[in-house]
Amino acid sequence: MNAFRTLLHPSRVVTVPLRNAYRWFDERTGITQLVHKGLYEAVPHSGGWAYTLGSATLVLILLQLFSGIFLLLDYVPSVEEAWQSLHFLQAQDAFGNWVRGLHLWGAYTLILVIGLHALRTFLSASYKRPRELNWMSGALLFFLVLGLAITGAMLPWDNAAYWTATVVTNILHYFPLIGDGLRQLWRGGTFVGPITLTRTFALHVWVLPFVLFAFIGAHLYLLRRHGEFGAWVNYNTETDDPDKEIGERIRNAEPPYPTKRIERRYAAPKRTVDFFPDQLFKDTAVSVGLVAIIFIAGLIFGATLDEPADSATLTYVPTPEWFYLPLDQFLVLTPHDPLIAVGIFVIVLAGAAAFFLLPFLDRSRERRPTRRPEVLVPALFMIFAVIFLAVLGVNRLYNL
């Protein structure tokens, strides 16, 4: 009787078949090994809070994917209906407007966080051998996020979107020789019109996200291949000659890495912890905080919608989104032909190229920011230039 009861105990009735099903599944997929490989990666022991920005960026990109899918439930990519469909959200559907708020404030937060992530990686010099391609794929992801932000800003087809579309597509026509053709291809005509919106929509919801997720895959693959570098503090020791010691450890951390995990630990930073649960807890805490901010901002502020696009306005003052203010101010500072083309396609693209090619510009073995003045000073100059241009732009457009 007792044995019978034990045999039919609810926990046994449920857990035994479940365990058997899991074993069957695991034998065929190797899921356990895969999950363990993902979770028990060694990461640097110190400074874990600084390393949460990458996963926060990923979480925010997934939030954009999620909220973007839901916006497709109502949005119509047509010059006649785009504004109407979003106006319906604003006037009739509080939850729909909340989702749009998530998408807008998520985008703003994403741009800030991906920028901080790049800044952290720059300061810790994590882009050095063998992680050059980690940096370059990350730089491409940064450009793709900016591209998604500007194409997304064109879609509501209110005045803000219409004039953003006008200016952004018009910039292309300053490109030497083929500029007029490029502008015509994006616009689908001489003027901004119906094809401009459908082409921008295709870029925003398929082309750019597709490329984005491909490079996210590459970025994460490379991260796992080389491991989290951390920062120079992770290679610090208490010996009399710390500099030499640090240099030795960093050299040890360079390739070729031993493939076995036990040997890998030896080559890794001085002290490591498992990704799960130590680092993942910190990652989660930061992501929860950021998503909570977006959740509340989306509810309180929602997303703005201007008047419908008016191609004959004489009073509307087109202003760029805040993250394009520095570039917009740059257009003021480079007047007339051919300086306009030089400003956009030489100076701005040279800055972008320097950002992208940073691992090949900074070739020293030094990792501490203060020992790399040859890259730190130009980088600080670029950061201050961007902030200064933004301040000039705010002053010009809002007369503060």
Partner: protein, 166 residues
């Protein structure tokens, strides 16, 4: 030896096959992508109206509903036509599309100039760029002025495209 050449053959044919797929998909896709470059424009003449009563010496706004010249037909877009009649009898038919970034230029009576709100471009009453970043004068609409034999009035008509000659 025979195996190696067979192997080479298979590798080459595989590469050729992949290339063939690429070409077959690229031709229609590229043609579709580039079609706006070769599309027939739908040019229309649109009547602005009689201009004999338009004041001389100050730009006057007229709004014209213009059909889109490329892409499928959508409701006409209102566009601005600035009529500038000069005392010497000439008439300029300016758009309000800035030659810099195509923002919405407007006549600023206090300045006596056209002002672009985007980047501060300035044009004089003839549409000549005199300040700020614009690289060229304010473009004119393609236009013609005809004498209506019935009413004896000068009638302005514009096309839904800009005069590229500047």
């Amino acid at each position: 030896m025979r195996d190696v050449s067979r192997r080479q053959f298979l590798i080459r044919m595989t590469g050729l096959g992949a290339g063939a797929i690429g070409v077959m998909l690229s031709i229609p896709a590229l043609g579709f992508l580039l079609s706006p470059l070769f599309a027939q424009k739908r040019i229309a003449w649109l009547t602005v109206g009689a201009i004999d009563q338009v004041p001389v010496g100050t730009p006057t706004v007229r709004y014209v509903d213009m059909p889109n010249e490329q892409g499928w037909p959508v409701p006409s877009e209102r566009r601005v036509v600035y009529i500038v009649r000069k005392s010497d009898g000439t008439t300029r038919v300016l758009s309000n599309i800035c030659s810099h970034m195509q923002c919405d230029v407007h006549w600023e009576p206090r300045l006596g100039q056209f002002l672009c709100p985007c980047h501060g471009g300035l044009y004089d009453i003839d549409g000549v760029n005199i300040g700020g970043p614009p690289p060229a004068p304010l473009p004119q609409w393609v236009h013609r002025i005809t004498l209506d034999p019935v009413t004896g009035q000068h009638v302005l008509e514009v096309q839904n495209q800009l005069d590229e000659r500047v």
